[in-house]
């Protein structure tokens, strides 16, 4: 598959993903805050988290979607703050970040895959 074709598929998937509700939002440590909660999507494509680093406001829910033919998962660097079950193709996982800070994470199957969520107000 050429990169440009893949990019177009991605763009389509992105458009579709924004229109449709995320199928299983779960495991959030606490309920979403009262103010309008933002959602940010990180896509897993070709063994890469994209974008690899994101900055969000407290209360933001980050959803990871696996677009590879190979399963991945999402594990906080400390292996405690969050850890998804395995995500097969097209499956997703969401976590709501309530506290400011830097949250590094990786794929527990392919640990060379790393990403970061920076949570800060304002």
């Amino acid at each position: 598959m050429s990169h440009s074709f893949k990019a177009r598929v991605l763009a389509l998937a992105l458009a579709g993903g924004l229109a449709a509700p995320v199928p299983f939002v779960a495991l959030a440590a606490r309920a979403a805050p009262a103010q309008a909660a933002a959602t940010v999507t990180v896509r897993i494509d070709n063994f890469v988290f994209g974008p690899a680093a994101i900055t969000v406001a407290p209360g933001t829910t980050v959803t990871w979607v696996n677009q590879d033919d190979i399963p991945h998962n999402i594990v906080a660097d400390d292996k405690q703050t969050f850890r998804s079950k395995v995500l097969d193709t097209d499956e997703s996982y969401s976590f709501t970040f309530t506290k400011p800070g830097e949250y590094g994470y990786f794929c527990g199957l392919h640990p060379h895959m790393t990403g970061k969520v920076i949570v800060k107000a304002g």
């Binding site: 070709n46 998962n73 990786f106 640990p111 060379h112």
Partner: protein, 316 residues
Amino acid sequence: MDQHDHSGSKNDPGRRGFLKCMGGWAGAGALYSVSGGVLSSVALDAASAAPAKASSFTFLQVSDSHVGFNKPANPDAAATYKEAVSKIMMLPKKPDFILHTGDITQLSKDQEFDDAEQIIKAAGVAVFHVPGEHDMLDEGQGKAYLDRFGKGTKGAGWYSFDHKGVHFVALINVANLKPGGMGSLGSDQLEWLERDLAHRPASQPIVVFAHIPLWTVYADWGWGTDDAAQALGYLKRFGSVTVLNGHIHQITRKVEGNIAFHTARSTAFPQPVGGQGPSPGPMKVPTEQLHSMLGITTASVVRGQHDIALVDDTLA
């Protein structure tokens, strides 16, 4: 068929040194018995056993069967695994046993493990497993694998056994992986390995098998094991060491001192050469080419020869 026995590869200058360094290899005597593929009694202490000459035998390596995989690169990985087992059953010499170097299943589901066991059972010989990262995906992060294959093993599932004078070591490098890292053995396993090898004569042939390569094939894709150097340090005094890995779904070979490294083909789908594709994921090839990129590896231990010959056969 790719043939690369250790005795005469022209394009591998390292082999000569490899052969020169190896002495005779009367192995340590040992007892073991296998029940349903599970090692039920460990080797006798090498020092207390009467030396037994290694005798000729063959064993098989299969890898990366990914039972449950059904994506475009191979819509039915169980079917090609069955074909691999049929190939084993048709070999002129029945192997003494099979080593499976991991990624037995695609998603660690019970049904996938069940199907995989049923398929390999048809070969009619004992099977020794190590898990790949795909076999660690249950809620218990490897508990499903250990419940099935971990009887008599230590830690995340490591073990060793002797067979006809050759010492076999199963290492686990897919557990407790660290962010940004590659495969990992961990200090507990390394300590165990050091003890396991400590009293063995340097003349005893050693076969080490693990899922992820124990040398760095391609770091950017995580194709290596972070703390492998320590393990290889314990192995380098032995005259004949064969390291069998999977994970990368293609044949690679390397000789370093007395240690011969080999990775096997998958029975499920090929992957690109390191760095030569968009990712280390499944590589879709034309259907008529798929079987020529899948395969099994036969290892021949020949009495009186110092090397273990490895022959890779495709499923074509």
